[in-house]
Amino acid sequence: MVDPRTSIVEERLGRIGRIIAVSSGKGGVGKSLVATTLALALARKGSKVGLFDLDFTSPSTHIILGAGDAKPREEKGLLPPIVCGLKYMSLMYYTGDEAAPLRGMDTSNALIELLAVTIWGKLDFLVIDMPPGIGDAVLDLIRLVRNTEFLVVTTPSQLAFETVKKFVMLLKEMNIRVLGVVENMKMNSGDGIRGRTEELGIPFLGEIRYDPKVEEAIGKEARLLETAIAQKVKELAETWLSENV
């Protein structure tokens, strides 16, 4: 018995310039906000960008974007709708406001299904909002999409960084490109995370100060782009755009 879907994944993603998975060892570090603002910042600079929410059990990018009623269109596959200038895909389109109680095998199957049937077309960037941790989604992405680059988000918390450390070391061992670590929700002037990241031989991409205005900006694209996260992420986007030239 052969699952045919994995054979088509490479072709489905074949016209995408760069695939950036925004990940973290821990939940609640602002990964979805970083992924969403990164996608928006790249699109505002004129790139063709997709945003793919792979956090199946706790999707939130649709709330951050304030995605309206647009739905994927069925045409020889699923065509993602355009939301805030992004080609956007999420399992939320098929679960609505209900919970998705998925075990590992189900997560894996849903991920492969969406990779196999979503027609992204030509994109400069596909930004993926990953679920927290080192689980099925990360392993499947590495297995099926070898050119994925990981952007890792942490907070100043030692608890968050401990899992981030394990995560980036694993990626390094597997020869997966790690773009670097971003420290989110910074509230003091310490540079412990910077030092510890650099000790691992991973680029430290910067810190994002804790911004209480983020909560009010959720669902409002223009205000979202004014937040501290968006400002920092814009700098990263500019760097990657210049690399792409």
Binding site: M1, V2, P4, S7, I8, P72, E74, D106
Partner: protein, 132 residues
Amino acid sequence: MHEWALAEAVIAATTDIAEKQKLKRVREVTVKIGELQQVEREIFVFALKQLKPFSLEKTQFRVTRGRTKLKCRACGNAWIFQKAKLNAETAEAIHFVPEVAHTYIKCSRCGSPDFEFSEGRGVWIENVKGER
């Protein structure tokens, strides 16, 4: 027409299998479609015919339906999926991503969403016959 994307996957997988098994000619491919995904067989078969590359020109694709068996992990209850019990919107969601069945279907005995598809989840290739 989401069937088209699944048919493309079957063609790509058949080509991969033929290469791996060093088949000079692929005579027959048996494809099963599980009831759960509600793939339109006619559209799927048509797409397979349209998408066949030259190397598979004479390959016969045998497409048959298979029942979907579900088994509750909480109480062990086993049952057969029945599309008729779903409303149109739910059926469509499961058609696109069968795993969202866990959102809408519950074990008929204990009400748990924690069940497995023991058989007939989606589309799979059962057999590839050919000559080396």
